[in-house]
């Protein structure tokens, strides 16, 4: 892959962020140091970086995709209060695939999981929710 200043900036923006940004958020941020960049370029590069195994795309239910610089297998939770997206480390899901294979013959190759709920901050802010 040929180097470009824009891709470099996009890659850095996602890696440095811990908010699992959307393409649009990356665009906003990258424009600071690169005012001429276009949204199309951001999408193109995000997809290239995903294809190249440098980033992960998170398909959010009912919302635009988000991007993640963490490449180890994990899942995500979205807070219905503030919209924050946080990581879930792999817990008891490891045996799931073999359990499914045994029971259904379906050989799982990827998980797309997003949990929805209320984060600690929002629970503290509004205990009734």
């Amino acid at each position: 892959m040929k180097y470009s200043r824009q891709r470099e900036a996009i890659y850095r923006a996602v890696r440095q962020s811990c908010s699992h940004p959307t393409a649009d958020t990356v665009y906003e941020q990258v424009r600071d140091e690169n005012p001429q960049i276009s949204l199309g370029t951001v999408y193109r590069n995000l997809n290239q970086l995903v294809d190249g195994g440098m980033l992960t795309k998170i398909a959010m239910p009912y919302d635009g995709d988000r991007f993640d610089g963490r490449m180890d297998e994990h899942y995500h939770m979205i807070c219905t209060g503030c919209g924050k997206v946080v990581d879930v480390n792999l817990l008891s899901l490891s045996q799931l695939d073999s359990e499914i294979l045994q029971k259904t013959g379906f050989r799982v190759s990827a998980h797309h999981m997003v949990l929805e709920g209320t984060c600690e901050d929002c629970a503290a802010r509004k205990p009734s929710a």
Copy 2:
């Protein structure tokens, strides 16, 4: 909710199907007995039925939403070979929420999970995949 012939037909179409149809597939099917129906009406009614707790919407990663007449909690797997979407009954996921609450303080209220892989039929058809 006021009765309408169209909503009736849409509801029946989703309940009778075991293929987790998209809005468009429902549209195609309902047009047989209701040629004047519009796609907008199909979307409107599907959403009303989901809001009313009569159907579930399945957010497919990287693809249009699908609808499901099964209302008990379960997940879905999509075959990367043939695109078939099948049900996964709840397995060892039940303790996941409390595990997450303990470790992160995030109170889970909903799961959005789609597993990707190869179904038994496709595995038989093309053993190398």
